[in-house]
């Protein structure tokens, strides 16, 4: 990362997040939800088979697993939005949910956003187009819940880390190439 890149990242903070960042964040969250859900199902099946006289095979209970995954995903997103204002996938890509005016997300708006979130899928993806074409990069559930997603990561620390890394590399180069007598 260059020095101008670090400064550009600092300037991005607080701006509306773009489509790619939000898509990758959603992908990360989805991976976490599926992974945790799968592991949980496997652990439950293993526990039933070991601890009980019954022999459970959850591979064919698609509806049940889907409902459980859906509930788990809702709990995952709702809890992280309410507690942290962002999901773990958003944290990875430096995003945060705020209210439309920029104030912190509260519980009420987080829940509204959570319940409106499926509209993006129920509209066959049309609800997500606002992220790309809207002036404020708001999806349909953002408009309903009056929320927005902004860049919000510790760009200052990133800049310092970048400077420290470059300084370390520069000092290391000086040690490896001794000055001519």
């Amino acid at each position: 990362m260059t020095r101008s890149g670090s400064r550009r990242d600092m300037a991005h903070q607080g701006h509306y997040a773009g489509a790619l960042s939000r898509l990758l964040a959603w992908g990360a969250d989805l991976l976490i939800i599926i992974a945790v859900g799968t592991v949980t199902v496997a652990l439950v099946q293993f526990a039933i088979n070991v601890a009980t006289p019954w022999n459970a095979d959850l591979k064919h209970a698609h509806i049940l697993i889907l409902v459980c995954e859906f509930i788990w995903g809702a709990f995952y997103l709702g809890a992280t939005w309410i507690l942290f204002g962002r999901s773990p996938g958003m944290s990875i890509f430096g995003l945060r949910i705020v209210r439309s005016d920029g104030s912190d997300l509260d519980q009420r708006h987080a829940l509204i956003r959570l319940f409106a979130f499926p509209l993006g899928f129920l509209t066959c993806g049309v609800g997500f187009l606002g992220i790309i074409f809207s002036r404020t990069h708001q999806a349909i559930y953002d408009r309903i819940a009056r929320t927005a997603v902004v860049y919000d990561w510790d760009a200052e620390a990133a800049r310092i880390r970048n400077l420290a890394a470059r300084g370390a590399r520069r000092r290391q180069t000086r040690v490896e190439v001794p000055a001519e007598p």
């Binding site: 990362m1 890149g5 670090s6 400064r7 550009r8 990242d9 600092m10 300037a11 991005h12 903070q13 607080g14 701006h15 509306y16 997040a17 773009g18 489509a19 790619l20 960042s21 990758l24 309410i82 507690l83 942290f84 204002g85 962002r86 944290s91 990875i92 890509f93 430096g94 945060r96 705020v98 209210r99 439309s100 005016d101 920029g102 104030s103 912190d104 997300l105 790309i132 074409f133 002036r135 404020t136 990069h137 927005a148 902004v150 860049y151 919000d152 990561w153 510790d154 760009a155 200052e156 620390a157 990133a158 800049r159 310092i160 880390r161 970048n162 420290a164 890394a165």
Partner: protein, 424 residues
């Protein structure tokens, strides 16, 4: 008869002294005296009768004259009579004037002959005693009297030398009450009337000084008493310091001072204790002082290695934000990867947004960068507690608002570098 009894004279009581009645002249017979009295009485009665007849005749003449003057032709007759009688009237008037002069001369002679006898006969003391001096003085008009006096003529007639010689100076002086006299003198008015310049110009200072016995004069002065009576404060206030300083020859004065001796006599500790260091420091113009310092020269003289060795790194890391920064900057490879991923995705987002705006023909300047409170538009709305935008203010995995840009308020430490507003 009481008139026949001798009347003793009391001095100062009778205007004319009573003279003891002289006895009838010897040899004059009583019948002669009676005949004389008869003759005098008859003459008196005759005179009285004549005067009464004359008076009646005069009155009658006046009445007749008035009657005649009212008759027709009386006026012309009066003129004719006046013309005819004028020479006679003139002669009569001349005779009357001559007679008046003769009578006046005779009267004067008579008075000159009689008055000395009358004056000698008067008792002056009694006469003076009967005069009411106060009433007399009140009736005198002093102003008119003074105006009638010819002062110059009066003074010129006085022989001053003779007058002075007749004055007994010792007696006069001994009779003067000096204290009362001095108390009555108005010193201020007297001093104001003295022409000091004229008085001083008339004094021969040199002669006066030569006559003064300086030693005797100084020996008689009580220096302590004199100094004690001097009002030092008033004296100092009257001194014009500026004029005095200008007259001092500074170079000559300084050359005569033994600086070493002077410095040795100064009690440095006492002087330093009396200095108000706060007031002194307040009077120093720090900016002007700093401008005069050559920073480069100062920095060159600093031993940076020794300075760095004296820094307590542990205390700095423990007590300042530097420790937090250092801790955040030592997150390792995963953090570097995250920083790179975030930066790259944000960059791609910027490209996508620009492309969409170009397709939709939207001007980027018209688009909002972010929520108002995070991009500084909140300040314009009058919310002083919200400042924007949050450069580097993100919270890695904090709770909502923990370290978020929107919750930074005035008073918190700002970011090291101000945010650079770039269009993504």
């Amino acid at each position: 008869m009481a008139e026949d009894t001798p009347h003793p004279r009391q001095p100062g009581t009778d205007l004319a002294p009573r003279i003891a009645r002289a006895p009838d002249p010897d040899g004059v017979p009583r019948p002669l005296l009676a005949a004389t009295d008869f003759a005098v009485g008859a003459a008196s009665q005759a005179t009285r009768l004549a005067l009464r007849v004359g008076s009646t005749g005069w009155d009658t003449s006046v009445a007749v004259g008035r009657l005649v003057s009212r008759l027709p032709g009386a006026h012309g007759a009066a003129r004719l009579l006046d013309t005819a009688t004028r020479p006679l009237v003139q002669d009569g008037r001349d005779a009357r004037v001559r007679a008046r002069s003769v009578a006046r001369t005779g009267t004067q002679r008579l008075l000159e002959a009689v008055l000395p006898w009358v004056v000698d006969a008067l008792d002056v003391d009694a006469l003076v005693a009967r005069i009411d001096i106060d009433a007399l003085v009140q009736r005198i008009q002093i102003d008119a009297l003074v105006q009638r006096i010819d002062i110059d003529r009066l003074v010129s007639g006085i022989d001053i030398d003779a007058l002075v010689q007749r004055i007994d100076i010792d007696r006069l002086v001994s009779g003067i009450d000096i204290d009362t006299l001095v108390q009555r003198i108005e010193i201020d008015a007297l001093v104001q009337r003295i022409d000091i310049d004229r008085l001083v110009s008339g004094i021969d200072i040199d002669a006066l000084v030569q006559r003064i016995d300086i030693d005797r004069l100084v020996s008689g002065i009580d220096i302590d008493t004199l100094v004690a009576r001097i009002d030092i404060d008033a004296l100092v206030e009257r001194i014009e310091i500026d004029a005095l300083v200008q007259r001092i020859g500074i170079d000559q004065l300084v050359s005569g001072i033994d600086i070493n001796t002077l410095v040795r006599r100064i009690e440095i500790d006492g002087v330093v204790r009396r200095i108000d260091m706060d007031a002194l420091v307040r009077r120093i113009e720090i900016d002007a002082l700093v401008r005069r310092i050559q920073i480069d020269e100062v920095v060159k003289r600093i031993d940076m290695d020794a300075l760095v060795q004296r820094i307590d790194i542990d205390a700095i890391v423990e007590q300042t934000e530097l420790g937090t920064i250092v801790a955040r900057s030592t997150s390792g490879v995963a953090t570097d990867a995250l920083d790179a991923a975030r930066s790259q995705t944000a960059g791609v987002d910027t490209l996508v947004t620009r492309a969409v705006n170009r397709v939709l023909r939207r001007r980027e300047a018209d688009l909002p960068l972010g929520p108002p409170l995070l991009t500084g538009e909140g300040e314009a709305d009058g919310d002083p507690t919200v400042v924007a935008p949050a450069a580097g203010g993100g919270a890695g995995a904090g709770g909502p608002g923990a370290g978020s840009a929107a919750t930074r308020v005035a008073g918190e430490s700002p970011a090291p570098d101000p945010p650079v507003e770039e269009r993504p």
